[in-house]
């Protein structure tokens, strides 16, 4: 199946990595948060990359998911899986209610509104101390277990998180490659034309907003159980920006680009630690430079470059046809 070739490669990579480097910090710890970020970025990419709707407040949904799981398990003694479902239900409902008024906005106004939503949620998390533990955070969140299989080691978290990431990637690929996915992309291309093709743009926007929020909530719940402790700082404005950066850095409207961006942006700070005081500055500089010189994103940029090289090798044609990008893989 040509359509799922990328997913197959990713799965292979995920399986091989711990076999080659067992007990490696970068595999069992950093890669786990990279996979978590990938779940978030893939969901956000549906909204931003495909439907063209910017969100600078995606951390809010991540936070609502995490806190629902945390609160429901520690204070009401629910089991983690029900808590996860409750989180998604709550997040989905909030996203559904907010979608209609927020997604009427365009461009920078939409950016501002989502940013505002993110900040409001973060403030509420800090202020409702009796429920969330306030700025001090919420601890003692129980670990997950799957049919008696306790997810209690770094390696097991690696497996679970990677599996969920692969699942989310698969779901996203399916969505993009369907009637609904085309509706999303059409919305991005021209809203008026999309309407004239019979697409209810309001419903489509709401749908993708809810889906992106649900994946963020799922990631939030996983995060809460993995960390056992959460505080509002993990869900602030900066994290929202980081998520957007992952999507853009990898390459908008490319699911694997989002995964790639998530991994780059998770590993980069780990690697920049050696620069100590210079870390923040270098990070900012890298971000700027990459966006200036590869505005289509790292993954998409490199992939297109590679394709062009391959094509030139095969047949030295002077002007290769512009590759149809991610849109192509539906030629199943």
């Amino acid at each position: 199946m040509k359509r799922l070739r990328g997913l197959f490669l990713l799965t292979l990579l995920v399986v091989i990595l711990p076999l080659l480097f067992p007990d490696n910090y970068y595999v069992t710890v950093v890669a786990v948060s990279a996979a978590l970020h990938a779940i978030l970025a893939v969901g956000l990419n549906l909204l931003m990359g495909y439907a063209g709707l910017i969100s600078l407040g995606h951390a809010a949904f991540f936070g609502i998911g995490a806190y629902t799981s945390g609160i429901v398990t520690t204070r009401f003694g629910l089991d983690p899986w029900s808590a996860m479902a409750a989180g998604m239900l709550l997040t989905g409902t909030i996203a559904f209610v907010m979608a209609r008024p927020i997604l009427r906005l365009k461009g920078h106004y939409l950016a501002m509104a989502t940013l505002g939503l993110g900040i409001i949620v973060q403030i509420v998390l800090v202020q409702t101390e009796e429920l969330t533990g306030g700025p001090d955070g919420l601890g003692g969140i129980p670990p997950l277990s799957l049919f008696g299989w306790e997810v209690d080691s770094d390696l097991r978290w690696y497996m679970l998180m990677s599996a969920v990431m692969l699942l989310v990637v698969w779901l996203a690929l399916n969505i993009i490659d369907s009637r609904s996915g085309r509706a999303l992309r059409a919305l991005h291309g021209s809203e008026v034309a999309a309407e004239m093709m019979g697409i209810d743009t309001t419903v489509t926007k709401t749908g993708v907003f809810v889906v992106a929020a649900l994946s963020a909530s799922l990631a939030g719940s996983l995060f809460a159980h993995q960390q056992a402790f959460i505080s509002p700082d993990s869900f602030n404005f900066f994290f929202s920006i980081e998520l957007v950066t992952m999507v853009v850095l990898g390459g908008m409207a490319s699911t694997f680009g989002a995964v790639f961006g998530a991994f780059v942006l998770t590993f980069l700070p780990e690697l920049l630690v050696i620069f100590e005081d210079y870390e923040v500055m270098i990070f900012g500089a890298i971000l700027m430079l990459m966006m200036i010189f590869l505005p289509q994103g790292l993954f998409v940029g490199l992939r297109d470059l590679l394709r062009r090289l391959l094509q030139q090798q095969r047949a030295p044609a002077p002007a290769p046809v512009v590759p149809a990008g991610e849109d192509k893989h539906d030629a199943a």
Partner: protein, 257 residues
């Protein structure tokens, strides 16, 4: 039978009247053209017919049903489709995907069944692809199927818009200046295409500046001037209408045709 019935249509923008008390009937199965000098209100009329603007007054009946106030996607569902004067292509998608978007209403799977890729979805995809390819070949665009829309020349994009609008499966197709910017060969192809669309039983409402094309392709013509109806009739009647000649060529030159 009348497919589209417009009565007393009025629209003004900040005090400037674009369309004033306009009425006309579009008979089914014909090519009906709207002409008029620049600023006569043709595109405004189209935008009202397709639900993008709301008229201040008047009524629009499509297949006997009032359609004012309906959102454009509802109109599409009733069988009204359109192309745009300034291309509204989905440039972020391939040619095939563009036209497959047009099949949106002829398929029905939702977000969640798509996410799980249930067997019905796969079948539906195949059907949508078949319909899209059919529309593409009707517009003679097969060889561009896998290209990205933003890599295509202008003349091809004009036809791609038509293929996409046809994929909706319309009863009425509104075409906004399909020949604008085309060379003579392309215009001749466009003329043939418009007639073919009509022969398929699709009523065409055409706005166009190329008078030669309009005269050759239309069954009836409506002439607009300053948002009002100046004349209406067959191409021959219009060509010999004094008011039309005056409006187009100025009062002093008479009987110029």
């Amino acid at each position: 039978m009348t497919l589209l019935e417009v009565q007393g249509l009025t629209k003004s923008f900040g005090g400037v009247t674009a369309i004033a008390d306009l009425g006309f009937d579009v008979p089914e199965g014909q090519v009906y053209s709207v002409i008029g000098p620049n600023g006569a209100g043709k595109t405004t009329l189209f935008n009202m017919l397709s639900g993008i603007y709301h008229p201040d007054e008047g009524s629009i009946h499509f297949q006997g049903r009032e359609i004012i106030g309906l959102q454009p996607h509802k109109m599409a569902a009733m069988g009204l489709s359109r192309t745009f004067q300034n291309l509204q292509m989905f440039f972020n998608m391939s040619v095939l995907d563009n036209v497959m978007v047009g099949c949106h209403l002829r398929t029905g799977s939702g977000l969640f069944s798509a996410a799980l890729r249930l067997p019905g979805v796969v079948r539906e995809e195949r059907e949508a692809r078949r319909l899209a390819r059919e529309a593409l070949s009707f517009c003679d665009l097969e060889r561009f199927v896998d290209q990205r829309a933003d890599a295509l020349p202008y003349g091809v994009l004009k036809r791609l818009e038509i293929a996409r609008a046809l994929a909706v499966g319309p009863k009425l197709l509104l075409m906004d200046e399909p020949a604008a910017g085309l060379n003579d060969t392309e215009t001749a192809e466009m003329q043939r295409l418009i007639r073919c669309i009509c022969e398929r039983g699709i009523t065409v409402l055409l706005v166009e500046h190329n008078m030669g094309l309009v005269m050759r392709v239309s069954d009836r013509i409506l002439v607009l001037d300053y948002g009002t109806r100046l004349a209406e009739g067959t191409p021959l009647e219009i060509q010999n209408d004094r008011r039309v000649i005056e409006a187009y060529l100025g009062g002093e030159v008479q009987y110029a045709v």
